[in-house]
C-alpha cells in the first residue's frame, strides 16, 4: 500500500509538471465538447426553400406564408417557373421546392383536390427526409384547417407525444455520447502514452528494478488516470449543463458508477496498446485506429439498428457501445439500474478480460 501511494505521488507530480499534459487534459476536452457539441448535430435547420406559386390565389398565398414563416426553412425566394426549381436544385441554391399549380385556389373551393408538389434534393437523404416531413406536417395542418369546414370528411389523426426529448433536439442525444467518446480518448490515450513514454526514456526499467510488485506497478500507473478521467467527465458534464443546457434525468451516482466501470476497460485498452507500441508515435497511431473503430461501431453517430446485421453483431464486441448506451439512458431517460444489466454485465466482463490480458502481456521486465 505504502509503495502504491509513493508511486501515485510520483505519477501526479509527473503529470502536473508537464504544462502540455494539463492542456491536453483540461483545456482540450472543454474545447472539444464545445465545438463538437455544436457541430455534431443531426438537427435539420435552415433548409433552403424555393417556391413557385403559379396560382397566386388567397389559399395558395396562405399556404406559402405558412411554409415561409416556419423556422426550419430558409426561404430563398420565389421562382418564375417550375423549371427554375429544378435548376436551383441543380445549382445547390435550394434544397426543397414547392410548386403550386395554376387554379389551386379555385379547384380547392370546388373540391377538385388540386395537387401541390414538393421537390426535394435527396442527396443528403437524412436532411431531405426530415425537410419533407416538416413540409408535409405544415401542409397537413393547412389541409385540416380547411377540412374542418366539411364534417363528413374527418380523417383519423395521430396525437404524437415525444418522450424524453420534447423539442427533438439532437444535442440531448449526441452530447452524452460525446462525453463517452472523449472520456475514452483521454483515458486510453493518456495511459498508453504515459506508459510508452517511460519505456522510451528508460525510466520504466528503473521502476522495474525496484522491489515494487507487478500488480502494484499497474495499479499505481492506472489509478491516477482513473481519477483524472473522473474529474474530466465532470468537467465535460459542467460544459454540457452550462453551455448546452442539458439536464441529467437519472442518478448522478449511477453515472459515476458506470463511468468508473468503463474506465477499467478503456484504461486496460491503454495498457494493452502500450505493450504493443515501442514509441509514443506508434502508441498514438494504434490508439487512433482503435478510436475510429470504437466510435463508428458504437452507434454514436447513427443508430446501430440501421446497420446491416453482420455489422450489428460486431458492435457487441465494442465496449464503447455499452457505455454510450448507458450514458444516454441515464442522461435522457432516467432508466433505473435494474433495466441496465444488459449493458453493465458486458462492460464488467470486458473490463475484467482486458485488464487480465494486459496484465499478462505487461511483464515487469524489459525484453
Amino acid at each position: 500500500m505504502q509503495r502504491i501511494l509513493y508511486l501515485l505521488q510520483k505519477e501526479f507530480r509527473q503529470v502536473f509538471r508537464d504544462r502540455a499534459m494539463i492542456t491536453i487534459m483540461f483545456v482540450v476536452p472543454v474545447v472539444q465538447t464545445l465545438v463538437l457539441g455544436s457541430v455534431m448535430t443531426t438537427d435539420v435547420k435552415n433548409v433552403k426553400l424555393l417556391i413557385y406559386d403559379a396560382d397566386g390565389s388567397f389559399a395558395s398565398r396562405e399556404l406559402c406564408r405558412r411554409l415561409v414563416n416556419n423556422p426550419y426553412f430558409n426561404f430563398v425566394g420565389y421562382a418564375e417557373s417550375a423549371s427554375d426549381i429544378h435548376e436551383a436544385l441543380d445549382k445547390w441554391q435550394a434544397q426543397i421546392g414547392l410548386f403550386i399549380k395554376p387554379h389551386f385556389g379555385r379547384d380547392l373551393e370546388r373540391g377538385l383536390r388540386p395537387e401541390v408538389q414538393l421537390i426535394a434534393d435527396g442527396l443528403d437523404g437524412n436532411t431531405a427526409g426530415i425537410a419533407l416531413s416538416y413540409a408535409h406536417g405544415i401542409l397537413t395542418a393547412f389541409a385540416q384547417n380547411i377540412a374542418v369546414i366539411n364534417p363528413t370528411n374527418v380523417p383519423l389523426v395521430g396525437e404524437t407525444r415525444l418522450w424524453y426529448n420534447l423539442n427533438l433536439e439532437s444535442k440531448h442525444y449526441m452530447i452524452p455520447g460525446l462525453i463517452g467518446l472523449l472520456a475514452t480518448v483521454v483515458t486510453m490515450f493518456l495511459t498508453s502514452m504515459g506508459l510508452v513514454r517511460e519505456k522510451e526514456i528508460g525510466t520504466l526499467e528503473q521502476l522495474m528494478v525496484t522491489p515494487i510488485r507487478r500488480a502494484e506497478l499497474m495499479i499505481g500507473k492506472v489509478l491516477p488516470f482513473v481519477i483524472i478521467g473522473l474529474v474530466e467527465i465532470n468537467v465535460m458534464m459542467g460544459v454540457a449543463f452550462l453551455i448546452f443546457k442539458l439536464q441529467l434525468a437519472g442518478s448522478y451516482w449511477l453515472f459515476l458508477g458506470v463511468s468508473l466501470l468503463y474506465f477499467f476497460t478503456s484504461l486496460g485498452l491503454g495498457i494493452f496498446i502500450s505493450t504493443l507500441a515501442e514509441t509514443q508515435q506508434q502508441a498514438m497511431f494504434i490508439s487512433w485506429f482503435f478510436m475510429i473503430f470504437l466510435m463508428l461501431m458504437s452507434g454514436f453517430l447513427t443508430p446501430i439498428a440501421n446497420m446491416p446485421l453482420a455489422w450489428q453483431n460486431v458492435t457487441y464486441l465494442n465496449p464503447l457501445r455499452y457505455y454510450i448506451n448507458l450514458l444516454r439512458e441515464i442522461f435522457l431517460k432516467a432508466t433505473p439500474l435494474n433495466f441496465l444489466w444488459n449493458e453493465i454485465v458486458p462492460l464488467a466482463v470486458f473490463g475484467l478480460l482486458i485488464l487480465l490480458a494486459s496484465a499478462m502481456k505487461f511483464h515487469k521486465r524489459v525484453s
Binding site: L36, V39, M40, T41, T42, D43, V44, K45, N74, L89, D90, W92, G111, R113, P114, E115, V116, Q117, L118, I119, A120, D121, G122, L123, D124, G125, N126, I130, S133, A135, H136, G137, L139, T140, A147, P151, N153, V154, P155, V157, E159, T160, L162, W163, Y164, N165, L166, E169, H172, Y173, Q281, M297, L301, A305, N306, M307, R328, K333, T335, F339
Partner: protein
C-alpha cells in the same frame, strides 16, 4: 544560401505556373527537361522504397480507404428500419385491426402487441423493447365512423431526435394510407418527388464524400510526414547539399503521393459505382479535375505543415488537427453546415473539402457541369495558390536556418 533562395523563388514561380496551366510547363524551362527528370526520378524511386518499407504508410494508403469505405458505407446509416412498435389495442374491433394491419404492412415497423397503461409503456421504453407505442382507445370503432374527429395516441421514445422525427413522419404516412383506404382524403393532394437520390440512400451521400477524406489524408498527412521524417533523421540536409534542386526534391517527394492519392480516389469511385451502385451521372473528367485541384490544395497544405513541424509527431498532430478533423466535422461531410452555429459556419469557408464535396457529389449524382461548379472550383484554385505561396515562403525560411 542566398543563391539557393533566389533559385527557390524562381522555382516556386514555375511551380505556380504548373499548378494552374498543367504539366506541359516543364519543357518551357531553359534547363533541359531530361536533366530535371533524371534527378527527380531517383527521388521518386527513393520515396517509393520508403513507402514500401514503412508499415504505417502502407496502412494509411491501402487499409484505411477500405476500412473507411466499409465503415461509412455500412455503419453510418441514417435509413431507419425494423423499428419495434408496441401496439396497445384497447378496442380489439375490426376497425382497429385494420389500422394495425396498416402498420404491419409498413416496412419500417415490427409490430408486437402489448397490454397496459402508460407505466407499462415507460417500462417498455426503459427496457428498450420498443421505440414507439400506438394506443388505440376503447371507443375507437364507435368514433371512427362518426362525425367527431377520431384519434389514436402515438408515443415515441424521442431520445434519438433524428430517429424520432422520422418515426413521426412514417406513422403519419401510415395513417394517411389508412384514411385514404376509408375514403377520407385531404382537400388537396401533396405529391413529393425526390431528386437525385429517390430512395434516400445514405451511401449515395457518404461514399462519394469519402473521396475528399481519403485524398486529404494521403496528400496532406503523408506529405507532411515524409518531409518531417527527413528533417528528423537529418537526411533532408544531405539531400539539400546534393546537386538536386529544392524544386526537384519537392516534386520528387510529392509525385508519389499524387499518384497514390489518385489511385485511391479512383478506387473509391469504382467501389462507389460498382459495389454501392452510386450512379455517376455527370462528366468523369470534371470529377478528376476537381480531384486534381483538391489534391493540389491538400498537398500545399501538407507542405505548409511540414515546414512548421520539426518532428513527425508534430507533423502528424498538425495534419490530423488541421486537415482530417475539419474535413470530417466542418465540411458538410456528415453534419449539415446549415445546422451549425453561425460562427462555425464561417469557419467552414476555410475548409477546402467544403468546396470539393459539392463537386464530387454534384457531378456524380446531380450531373452538374462546370457552369454549376465554377465557384467551388475557383475557390479551390485560390486556396491552392494561397497555401502554396505561404508554404513556399516558409520553406525558404526553414532552408535558411
Amino acid at each position: 544560401m542566398s543563391v539557393v533562395r533566389r533559385q527557390l523563388s524562381v522555382v516556386w514561380m514555375t511551380c505556380n505556373g504548373q499548378q494552374t496551366t498543367g504539366n506541359g510547363q516543364l519543357t518551357t524551362d531553359n534547363k533541359p527537361l531530361a536533366k530535371n527528370m533524371s534527378r527527380i526520378i531517383p527521388i521518386i524511386r527513393k520515396e517509393f522504397i520508403h513507402i514500401r518499407r514503412d508499415f504505417r504508410t502502407l496502412i494509411i494508403i491501402f487499409a484505411m480507404p477500405i476500412f473507411m469505405l466499409l465503415m461509412y458505407g455500412y455503419a453510418i446509416n441514417m435509413e431507419i428500419q425494423n423499428i419495434d412498435l408496441a401496439m396497445i389495442d384497447h378496442s380489439l374491433s375490426p376497425a382497429s385491426r385494420e389500422l394495425v394491419r396498416a402498420f404491419q404492412g409498413s416496412r419500417f415497423f415490427t409490430v408486437t402487441y402489448f397490454d397496459g397503461g402508460e407505466s407499462a409503456i415507460e417500462k417498455l421504453f426503459h427496457r428498450r423493447d420498443a421505440k414507439m407505442a400506438l394506443i388505440i382507445p376503447q371507443d375507437f370503432a364507435r368514433i371512427i365512423g362518426g362525425p367527431a374527429p377520431a384519434s389514436v395516441q402515438i408515443l415515441i421514445d424521442a431520445g434519438d431526435s433524428n430517429t424520432a422525427q422520422l418515426l413521426q413522419n412514417y406513422a403519419n404516412v401510415v395513417l394517411q394510407t389508412y384514411n385514404a383506404g376509408r375514403g377520407v382524403v385531404a382537400p388537396f393532394e401533396v405529391r413529393a418527388t425526390i431528386q437525385y437520390n429517390p430512395t434516400l440512400k445514405s451511401a449515395y451521400y457518404f461514399v462519394p464524400g469519402l473521396v475528399a477524406l481519403i485524398l486529404m489524408m494521403i496528400s496532406a498527412l503523408l506529405t507532411s510526414l515524409t518531409i518531417a521524417r527527413e528533417k528528423e533523421t537529418g537526411t533532408l540536409e544531405q539531400i539539400l547539399v546534393s546537386p538536386v534542386r529544392p524544386f526537384e526534391i519537392i516534386t520528387g517527394k510529392v509525385v508519389p503521393y499524387l499518384f497514390l492519392a489518385f489511385a485511391d480516389g479512383i478506387l473509391i469511385l469504382l467501389v462507389a459505382r460498382f459495389w454501392f451502385e452510386v450512379p455517376i451521372i455527370g462528366n468523369l473528367a470534371l470529377i478528376l479535375l476537381g480531384c486534381l485541384l483538391f489534391v493540389g490544395v491538400a498537398l500545399s497544405f501538407g507542405l505548409l505543415i511540414s515546414t512548421l513541424a520539426r518532428t513527425q509527431q508534430v507533423a502528424m498532430m498538425g495534419a490530423l488537427m488541421g486537415t482530417l478533423l475539419p474535413t470530417v466535422m466542418l465540411s458538410g461531410f456528415i453534419f449539415p453546415i446549415a445546422s451549425m452555429p453561425k460562427i462555425l459556419q464561417f469557419v467552414t469557408y476555410l475548409v477546402p473539402a467544403r468546396y470539393f464535396l459539392p463537386v464530387v457529389r454534384g457531378v456524380m449524382l446531380k450531373g452538374n457541369t462546370i457552369f454549376h461548379l465554377w465557384l467551388p472550383l475557383g475557390m479551390l484554385v485560390l486556396m491552392g495558390i494561397f497555401f502554396l505561396m505561404i508554404s513556399a515562403k516558409r520553406f525558404k525560411m526553414t532552408l535558411e536556418v
